[in-house]
Amino acid sequence: MNEFNNILSVSELTNIIKVTLEESFSDVSIIGEISNFKAHVSGHWYFTLKDAGAQISCTMWRGVNSYVFFTPQDGMKVIVRGKITVYPPRGNYQIDVRSMKPAGAGELQAAFERLKQKLAEEGLFDPEHKQPIPKFPKKIGIVTAIDGAAFQDMKSIAARRYPLAELVIASCKVQGEGAAKEIVSAIKLLNTRDDIDVIIAGRGGGSLEDLWAFNEEIVARAIFDSKTPVISAVGHEIDFTIADFVADLRAPTPSAAMELATPNKDELFVFIDEFSYYFTEKIFEIIADYKEEISGITSSYGFRIPLDFIKSRNQYLDNVLFRFQNFFDNKILFNKNRLELLESRIQSFDTEKILRRGFALVSQEGKIVSRKEKFDKDKSTQLKFYDGEITIKHG
């Protein structure tokens, strides 16, 4: 009966195991590959950590897992830190995970590739899902941190290029705990409005870890589900995220995204200017065409008939006038001559009367000498009598 000396109840034994394990493994770090990952609606995570020879169950509670910047995926190698806990009702043990990080730099890249592959197979990146980006957006939705440099860049580019637009920012965290969820709700928030023409979702440059939120599946799905077209704008030119593949348009940087979303004011000025020039040029051309048409009509034979008639009448009138003119001119000339003749006769008639009475007219060199002092004894003198003239030569 010796072998039954120390009899323990199941609970007692489990309790000893619990104390032993929990005291010995209150702070352990374990490396392993994730499998059976489940994010429960309660917010807690359940998964198994395994390697080639063993596996162990893990839990990570809601308040703690929000500090993990990435969402774990099956196949991802991670290092977790936590403690062993024993759950007596089930007789099992697990790791209560306090923190988690990728096991190496390649892990995130591998996770990225896996998600990319999965979503590509689902068709989330297919070109037929891409929505066109409007050319003249009235309202541009922005999903980024309102106090970030990216937002400042976007604002100044919008102000320079197309100040007619309104920026509607749904501010959110873009890195660290809870960033992915905030990005998702910001996209959804903008989608509750029907006046947003395009959404730009992004942030400035950073490490792969910083940009990770844009590699999360929930963000990819929110972009895919967005009714409003989305331009992704994450990091620098070289950074590619899952968001870039699923977005309707990928911009290399936030600044570039704003340039893609807006027309250029200066080009618009030129565009409008060209219309003004064109309109003016065209209307002159139209008027000139009409003028030409009119002058074509007026110079046609039909229009010339009345003009020719007028011309011939004109000529006739000129002739008549000319004849009248001649007639009157001749008449005037004739009368003028007659008048002159009469005048000289009247004059001569005057002196004749006097000479007839016996007077004589004294003249020297053709001038009448009417006074004594005008007489020049050295000149020859003409005397005119009624019946004739004599000349008294000097000497």
């Binding site: 050319k135 003249f136 009235k138 939705g141 309102i146 604002k155 919008a158 102000a159 100040p163 007619l164 637009a165 309104e166 920026l167 509607v168 920012i169 749904a170 501010s171 969820k181 709700s185 910001a186 959804k188 928030l189 903008l190 509750t192 409005r193 029907d194 006046d195 004011k265 618009l268 000025f269 565009f271 409008i272 200017d273 219309f275 003004s276 064109y278 309109f279 003016t280 065209k282 209307i283 139209i286 008027i287 009409y290």
Partner: protein
């Protein structure tokens, strides 16, 4: 598409293009052409002014709906 804006910038640009096309075709009379010309010049002037005087507006959308959306 709740309501069509009475005269957005984009609509104005579209109208300019229409006027340009109509003048180009030359199928309309002189009076109509002159009317279109006046409309076009006026519209261009308005567009120019609108763009020149515009100032960027920024509104922040507060997340009143956030809690409701989180559960989705």
């Amino acid at each position: 598409m709740a309501k069509k804006k009475e005269n957005s910038f984009e609509d104005s640009l579209q109208r300019l293009q229409e006027i340009s096309d109509m003048l180009e075709k030359g199928e309309i009379g002189l009076e109509e052409s002159i009317k279109l010309y006046e409309e076009g010049i006026n519209l261009a002037k308005i567009c120019f002014g609108t763009l020149k005087e515009a100032e960027l507006k920024v509104t922040e959308l507060k997340k009143q709906l956030e809690d409701g959306l989180k559960d989705q």
